[in-house]
Symmetry: C2
Subunit: 200 residues, 2 copies
């Protein structure tokens, strides 16, 4: 298999962490790409018309995206039910948490585009504030929830979203308002799948 | 169950179509909300910190989001494997198509925000062009693919994405470049789930 990724992409990191947890990493060749919403990558678009990473090319040459689809595919390839709980309350909780975490990342990426890609004269503070509100409210929700339990796709997504905040928004100091969440991440940080994929 | 939605939301329409197809619509009370990324809805945020629709409140009071999670939950509630194929090639194809269709919608919504919500002086043509390129390339991919087969979550997502283009970007005339895709949608248009949920 081949994975189009970038080292800083939190969505691609979900796939890399999943592959490591499932013992599949050695079967995946990593193909780095650089891109932005205004500088598309023609080769990547042949596989994903949306021009986004991650994209997985399976051994039969089929292209899979986006990150939830790839992560569930890898889980099934490893036997199923390991990082993606079977149907039932555990599955809906894990998938709802994945959506919450990916939503934090989506909002953070939009803020990043606004602050670094868009010309300075065209930036809109209300847009940034609206996205920041989503991030703050979602972090507060995660602080309230008990995140104990298996390291499933929900937990992986949360860890990757927080890692992205640390990479791009360190000045936000999310740990000060979410000490319990900070403790949860610290306890996981030495896990090889997370430690080896931390963006620098 | 209760569903926070808006009549024009293509993501919420996926849920409404799924519920109708699965015979669950009568069990879901529809709660309309209006919101934008810069005018959040406080009541909605209590259930989804990201402040996005759709949100489903289950009979046990749990909040589920986003649209893929809700749609899969409803499918499981109806016995499973009806709109969401079980693991295997059919599942990955349906989920990849859902991601492609939702990606069209994501890009179209970003264009809509840029053109109608953001102050005119702060609009960036390159951003709009970048998102439009995603839409055009994705439509071209759908035109190439054979979409015959069961009306699953992939097909539902594609129909809802195209319906959103018809609602907000009619002047783009996507049918002129995608006649085969247009024929596919036309053949489905009288399906009660789609006909009764068409945004106006």
């Amino acid at each position: 298999m081949k994975l189009y990724f970038s080292p800083a992409s939190p969505y691609a990191r979900k796939v890399r962490v999943s592959a490591l947890e499932l013992g599949l990493a050695e079967r995946i060749e990593l193909l780095p790409v650089t891109l932005s919403p205004v500088s598309p990558n023609a080769q990547l678009r042949e596989h994903n018309p949306l021009g986004k990473i991650p994209v997985l090319l399976t051994d039969s040459g089929e292209a899979l995206y986006d990150s939830p689809v790839i992560c569930e595919y890898l889980d099934a390839l490893a036997g199923g039910g390991r990082l993606w709980p079977a149907a039932g309350p555990a599955r809906w909780r894990a998938l709802r948490r994945q959506a919450l975490a990916d939503g934090i990342t989506d909002a953070a990426v939009l803020v990043r585009y606004e602050q670094t890609v868009r010309p300075e004269a065209l930036r809109w503070s209300e847009w940034i504030e609206g996205q920041r509100l989503k991030i703050r409210t979602a972090l507060a929700e995660l602080e309230r929830e008990s995140l104990e339990g298996p390291f499933d796709i929900g937990a992986i997504s949360i860890a990757c979203a927080l890692g992205y905040l640390d990479l791009r928004f360190a000045e936000e100091r999310w740990r000060e308002h979410q000490p319990r969440l900070a403790g949860w991440l610290a306890a996981l940080a030495q896990r090889p799948s997370l430690a080896s994929s931390t963006p620098a």
